[in-house]
Symmetry: none
Subunit: 144 residues, 4 copies
Amino acid sequence: MTDLSLAAARTIVDTALATARSRGLKPLAVIVYDARGSLKCVQVEDGASLRRAEIALAKANGALALGLGSRAIAKRAEEQPHFVAAVSHVVGPAALVPVPGGVLIREGERVVGAVGVSGDTSDNDEICAVAGIEAAGLRADTGA
Amino acid sequence: MTDLSLAAARTIVDTALATARSRGLKPLAVIVYDARGSLKCVQVEDGASLRRAEIALAKANGALALGLGSRAIAKRAEEQPHFVAAVSHVVGPAALVPVPGGVLIREGERVVGAVGVSGDTSDNDEICAVAGIEAAGLRADTGA
Amino acid sequence: MTDLSLAAARTIVDTALATARSRGLKPLAVIVYDARGSLKCVQVEDGASLRRAEIALAKANGALALGLGSRAIAKRAEEQPHFVAAVSHVVGPAALVPVPGGVLIREGERVVGAVGVSGDTSDNDEICAVAGIEAAGLRADTGA
Amino acid sequence: MTDLSLAAARTIVDTALATARSRGLKPLAVIVYDARGSLKCVQVEDGASLRRAEIALAKANGALALGLGSRAIAKRAEEQPHFVAAVSHVVGPAALVPVPGGVLIREGERVVGAVGVSGDTSDNDEICAVAGIEAAGLRADTGA
């Protein structure tokens, strides 16, 4: 059991972006945190809007903060909006965006990091995150 | 293809206010950001309420952050209120107000800035923003 | 005794920028608040750096917050740095930058607003602010 | 004259890290913003401490905000500590760290982005940033 390496994080980001290009998606921001919530790798495609990276960071930060893929946080937001709104203030400056596309990276059961993707529909964002994590030989936990 | 000039931003604001006066609208705040989200030009009419400028800033900031005119953000807010509420925390201190009146300034396809107008109805605010952008020879993207 | 009008604020900003151009100064951000701390008028010249407007806002906000031209706040910062550092957290999100260039606008004794200028040396910034205020027939209080 | 591309940003980061490895430096965080202050590319090496990326972000953000390489901001901080401390509050949530290693990316005279490096001595951090920028065919402005 090891920490998430930069090499793995790069594979995740490169694969997520290759997946987006093969599907003709809009320009994406893809970010990877390690288990501590430290940035490991970010790439933002040309043409992405001004705060696309911040949204990707918030999806992944929320997943790490709660130990739940952001698809599960989206469900919780529908059931208990006050909980999720309040939690967004206490999970650090990156906050939280409760829609799919914030995916936990697991090695076995252990959380070793999280990926955040933003730019296309939330479902498409999530597809790219999962493809990246699996290409690195790790397990994607979307919260589904 | 050039940056948004102060001369163009002034034309936008002056025309938006002239449009408001010709229609007898309430006192407006009109603000222009460049593509970086840096202020270029602001004018707030006499009689505007205390935080009218902040609302105009938030309309334009949201449009730039998401790459969507604020009319589209308003629609998204009706469909996914949790998403829009959460995003308002991660788009910088100017935040986001999801109603019409935050209009992207495009030169061809490229976003060169955004206009925010607040003070009258959202529909009237948007009319003034569009008039200003077109007077400067640029293209208004309301998100409609 | 009246509120600061948009017409007066525009005269202040236009004159400050004309003064900068006649002296060959670097690109400036010039902002005017009314007595309530509401924005009245902003113009930021082409070529200004990314957060130049925020610095101008902070100079003027500090002046309004403490009722002192920012030259006086700079002096206080040298004498009592802890006071000024702490106050910067409690004067609202625009904060405070304690160098010359944040000038109170007085009509007689009454404070009717503040001007903030940033882009060149602090002394030159202040010269432009004062020129603008005097062109509007008002009294500049630099804190000197 | 074009925007900073992701391809160029990747060249900058890869070269900065290759430079660090060839010199046996400590683990680095290397980040690239475009001219808007939007993240383009980040890589943080294995073994970097918890908030190393935030320091790199703050070096680059300060450079962009003031239009000065962070070596010049470091000099200003020695001369006017109150100014630099205060400005750190008004340049956005990434704040400002006034030591070398935040380098403006120029194409001709135009600022197209900024690089921030943190992990080794500030002088070594800056050497890696400059090597990256030059490898992308752009001009490094350290503030020296």
